[in-house]
Structures are given as structure tokens and as C-alpha cells.
Symmetry: D2
Subunit: 136 residues, 4 copies
């Protein structure tokens, strides 16, 4: 599958959709996969000095949204139907990287597999499966 939107277009959609928040950065879009990362700073911390679970869920959700839009165009109103995440290891306080891979793109739903890891490490910190519902 060839994406219809690339890094620059996805980055712009992110900036326009989340004007006030700190915006994750799109690193690459290639076939059915997107890589996006969250530059990490102290604000994301949690008790115990690790990155928060919600930061990881938020990035996983975003990766699924981005790879869906990369293939169907700028459907900013697509909504998450379900998200499942297993937390595997404590992430370091390095940048959090998400690799989203489109498992299915139907007329109604997209399903995305998301791997999360800390920049510079191969070990997964979390693994998610996310379903988006596409507007008619």
C-alpha cells in the first residue's frame, strides 16, 4: 500500500489539530508503517522516575491515527473505537518512539499494531493494538 500523505502533511495536521499542546514529531512514513516520537522532558515523569503510562497510550493512539490518515487522507474526525496496551518495561527518560503498522484498512475500521520503545534501545516498552472508526 502506498501512503497518500507523507511526513510533512501529517506533521501539519498534527500542528493544526493540537495548537496548544506540545506536538509529537513524525519521523517517517513508509508503506504501511509510520514512526512518530515524543521528545521527552521532565513533565512526562511519574512517581518512580519513569515515563507515564498515559504518555505512552497517547502516543500509541496518535500513531494509529497518523498511519490511518496516511492511507485514507486527512480524516481528522476518525475516532478511536478501542485501544489495548500491554506495558512491558519501564521506559528510560529518553525520547519515546512509536512505530504504527496498519494491520487492516476496511471501509469502516482500521486496525493498527503499535510498538513503543525508548530511543536508542531495541527492547519494547509497550505494545498496543488500536482500532479507529472511519467516518462515512
Amino acid at each position: 500500500m502506498t501512503p497518500v500523505l507523507g511526513v510533512a502533511e501529517l506533521q501539519q495536521i498534527l500542528r493544526e489539530s493540537f495548537p496548544s499542546a506540545e506536538v509529537p514529531l513524525v519521523e517517517s512514513v513508509d508503506g504501511d508503517s509510520v514512526v512518530v516520537y515524543l521528545p521527552v522532558n521532565e513533565r512526562h515523569g511519574r512517581p518512580g522516575g519513569t515515563l507515564s503510562g498515559p504518555s505512552m497510550m497517547t502516543l500509541a493512539d496518535l500513531a494509529a491515527w497518523l498511519i490511518t490518515m496516511a492511507h485514507v487522507g486527512p480524516v481528522v474526525l476518525a475516532v478511536t473505537t478501542s485501544l489495548h496496551i500491554d506495558f512491558l518495561r519501564k521506559p528510560s527518560l529518553d525520547d519515546l518512539v512509536a512505530r504504527g503498522r496498519l494491520l487492516k484498512l476496511g471501509k469502516r475500521l482500521s486496525v493498527v499494531d503499535v510498538e513503543l520503545f525508548s530511543r536508542g534501545s531495541e527492547a519494547l516498552v509497550a505494545k498496543a493494538q488500536v482500532t479507529y472508526s472511519l467516518p462515512n
Copy 2:
């Protein structure tokens, strides 16, 4: 099961654990259930004018953490092992309320059912099942 921590103690743990963030409010702790809510303002919005999915996941995760601690004491280092959430309806921009119910409290894991709804409405906006791992 009788909780060992009440509303005031849980609220204080929240305040100390998240000093810089806006802190959800603990409304009640009763047997195996906790009610916690997020006062909603414009910052939580998403394209389409609804509350963001990450806001809902974050509150679900927090409700599970709180009802776990209410029964085992202030184990602030308990970590989420897995979270599953189904998004059901668009929430209104009213306060987001989460009701967490302890399904299992073992030596290693707690499992919590979380219902999310908008203040003033009976219809669920999301439903989650969250597992926490308890430190030894």
C-alpha cells in the same frame, strides 16, 4: 472489602504524585468502588469539539490506581500492566467521571473495571479493564 484509605488520603497522594499537573478530584470511596472526576475545560478538547481519548484513558488508569491503593495502602509504585478501553459515545464537554470497581485483588495483580461517563448523563462514554502489578 473495607478500604484502608479514604477520599482525603487518596486526594493527598494524587496531589503529591502529580504536583505540576491539574489533578482529578476524588469524589467517593465505598467498598470496592471509587469515583473520581476530571473537571473539564477547553484544553481537553479534540478536533470535532469532544473530549480527547487520552483524557479518558488517563482518568481510567488513575481510577484503577486509586481503588487499588484504597485497598492495599499507598503503593504509589504500582504500575499498570495492561489497559483495554472501548470508546462508546462522544462525551459532552462536562466533567468526566470514572467509576472504578475492583474485580480482583491478588498478591501480584489487581484488576479493575472502569466505567466512564459525562456528569449528568447515565450513558457510558467508555468502558475499560485495567490491570495493575503490585510491588513485592
Copy 3:
């Protein structure tokens, strides 16, 4: 919501859909809830002398299918989109009971909460959330 199919009709659909298998029994249909149970015998056992996980998943999936059909009519071609289950306690070798509750009934999807327990006990043995996709 008032169901459009009752116990007898759902039981007949089960019998016709699974002619060769041993068929679970529909106990009640009431508003948004169905109760169905699996008469347990030795064949369902697993190492350790407990009921198998697949038996529980199968019954949860079935409960979700039945309460969906109870409200939309005999859509036997509805298919499971996703299933999440947390296993909580070892079931006894008594009948396995599932209570399915419709959380959402949309035009495309139904979402069902399923509680599983052993006959004669209040303690949940498993808890599931199941999504069905409705044919056009």
C-alpha cells in the same frame, strides 16, 4: 431497550447454528442483558483440573452475539471484531455462567460487557469486553 428476540428464539438460533456441537443454554433475556450457561463436564477440563480458558472465551463471545441478536434480530452473520478478556480466578467445575450486557448498539457495532462466574458463586472468574460488527 426491549429485546425483539426471547429465550426460545435465541435457543433455536443456537441449535441451528451449531448443529453438531454441544450447545450452551439460554437462561434469560431481560432488557439489555442475557444470561447463558455451559453445562460443564469433564471434557472442558485443563491441566490442573480447572475449566479451560477457551471454554470461557467461547461462552463470552456467544453471550455477546446473543444479546446483540436479541436487540437487532437474527443477524447470524454478525462477526466478532475484537474480544478482550481478563481471567480472574480458577473456575470450579460447576456450570459456567455468562451474563452479557449491551453497552452500545450502533448501526455498525455493538459492544458488550460479559461477566463470567461459576454456578453457585458470586465471585467473577473472568470479565470480558466484546465488539461485534453488524452486517449492512
Copy 4:
């Protein structure tokens, strides 16, 4: 990670653990991955002429159990803690193949990613994440 059990040993555990049932076949064990398949026949069918969801969940659960045992030894009493599965496409009535990949092996829990496909096709029919609890 090098497995401590191979194809023959896992196949024997399967045969001994499920003496009366039809037993899936272990195809390969390699590093953190196992491949196991279910020879498909008419009994697995469902309304609409496709393979049943429970057959897929059962095989996913089994793949997770096998790759866990391949690395920790014959812990036949390990129990499934949670299972999440997204159903993606209707499988054909060919053999159902599961590839389980160990994402985490801790002292208490193992987490396994499972891809399911029909023999002879690259397209995934389902995708699961399964957690097993290891006995002390």
C-alpha cells in the same frame, strides 16, 4: 534468547495435556518465536462458512503457552491472565497458522504477540496479545 524446549518436546506436552482433543501441530521453535497450526476440517466452521472465532482464540492462547514454556520449561500450570484479539479478515477453510512471539519474559508474567493467518496467505486474519502468569 535460546529456547530450552524444542518442537518434539512441546508437541509431547500438547499430546499429554489434551489427550482427548484434536491437537494442534507445532511446526517450529526459533529464538523468541513459535509456529503452531490447526489442521482445519468442517467441524470448525461457523455460520457463513468461515472458521470460528473461538478456534482462533484457542490457537492464539496455545501459541502463547507454547512459546512461554519453550523458554521457561514445562510449566503446564501457567495460566492465561489476559487475552486481547482483533479479528481482521475472514479466514479461509485452510489450516490456521499462529506465530507467537515472546515480547516479555519476566519472573511473574510473559507477554506474547500472536499473528494468525490462513496457510498459503500473507494477510493476517487476526492479531492477539496474550499474557500468561508463571507459577512461583
